[in-house]
Amino acid sequence: MSGKKRRYSRWRLAVQTAAFLVILINPFLNYYWQFSFVQGWYQSLGIGKLWFVSPLEGLESILVSKTVYLPLLIGMLIPVLLALFLGRVFCGWICPIHFLSELEDRLLRLLRIKRRDLWRLPRMVFWFALIGELLLSMIIGAPLFVFLSPPGLVGREIMMAVFFHTLALEGVIVVLVLTLNLFTRRFFCRYLCPLGALLAFLGSKRRLLVVKREEECLKCGLCDRACPLGLSPSQGEGASLYCWNCGECVDACRLNALAFRWRAIGPRVQSDSQPRDE
């Protein structure tokens, strides 16, 4: 059993580090070697002719400008499909803010500073953040998340530093988000991130879930304490809308009562090997 322990967190850190290195190294390649095969950051990333566009940024652009541009929709396709099938995995496994927050967590653990989640808001705030942000953007007539999004700002600040040898002032938002982590883990990600809310909404019928096996659970509560989003996997919240499938609770469980499971496609199809999925 100990061999299985902490499996996902190691994988996750590797993926996050790789994802962060992409946006860290790219500006240098573009600036000093004019190597533009990989371009941009997590607002729009281009790998050769394969383009990704962040779904919320794309949606804002369409809603506010009231025009549709087909390449934009195609760029949003893969991120949207990823969210539909796997849920908020962008947040849990790729987002540079979550990566920096995890580094912050590790640093605090190293310094033996203990935290409690001081501020808890109703989860509904998450949806109000998304709807409010979209409505406000449409009223003002300018998309707001495109220049205020913390994940995007990390990329932009790195690019600004490399290209223009300066930092943009709005980078304080990133610092603010990381500071909020000191009081409540992932306060921004939990309650305020409109992009996270959109991905969670898209992932409401996702296939990949954290499922609890009732008979093996001792109700020790380790998983609840491990969850960076403050969810309670012991109460089955690993299958809720808000879970970003990071696997922290699966790692924390000593009895393997929690595991990632694929939900069968369609309500009637039930595979014999996984009778407890539903």
Partner: protein, 187 residues
């Protein structure tokens, strides 16, 4: 109306467009009225620009933060047309070099030494990528043809005078267009 309600914001530049004389959007840009709406601030145009003509604005420009801008007095646009190929939102449309209309070069004849008869300078003529079309010499004095001028700003950059005797006016950026025209252009 907006400037009436929020005079201070307008003066601080939070609502005012950063586009002005010699401060231009990259080639193929949609009209300024929908530019900040369409652009997702991904910065890819600035990353691909080999000449570092395109700069990215910061939060001091309010809702225009993160949008690309070219100051042709510092670095003009060399019309390499790389940025229009990487824009994922259609904010920079894929136009050819000749179709670029970033603005229109306007000569200040009271400032220009050639027009004043003080010297025989023709730097703007020499550096223009569309010589004899966008700019020609009329009795050795430079004259712009608005049918061909792309507004790339090479002439502004080249002009040896301070203040510049030739400037790019962003005459096309603030044109009001009907929705139908805009949609056609967006496609």
């Amino acid at each position: 109306m907006g400037s009436l309600l929020l005079p201070r914001l307008a003066h601080a530049g939070l609502l005012k467009s950063p586009v002005g004389i010699n401060h231009l959007r990259p080639p193929g840009a949609v009209p300024e009225e929908i530019f900040p709406a369409k652009c997702i601030r991904c910065g890819r145009c600035a990353e691909i620009c080999s000449y570092r003509s395109i700069r990215v604005l910061d939060i001091r420009y309010g809702v225009y933060a993160g949008t690309p801008l070219i100051n042709v007095e510092e670095v003009p646009c060399y019309l390499c047309m790389k940025c229009v190929d990487v824009c994922p939102t259609g904010t920079l449309r894929r136009v050819s070099q000749e179709e670029v209309r970033m603005g229109l070069a306007v000569i200040n004849r009271r400032q220009c030494v050639t027009w004043r008869g003080l010297a025989l300078c023709r730097t703007c003529y020499n550096v223009c990528p569309f010589k004899e079309k966008a700019i020609h010499l009329d009795q050795l004095r430079p004259v712009i043809d608005e049918r061909f001028c792309t507004g790339c700003g090479l002439c502004v950059h080249g002009c040896p005078l301070t203040p510049k005797a030739i400037n790019i006016e962003p005459v096309y950026a603030f044109e009001r267009k009907s929705r139908d025209v805009r949609e056609e252009e967006a496609l």
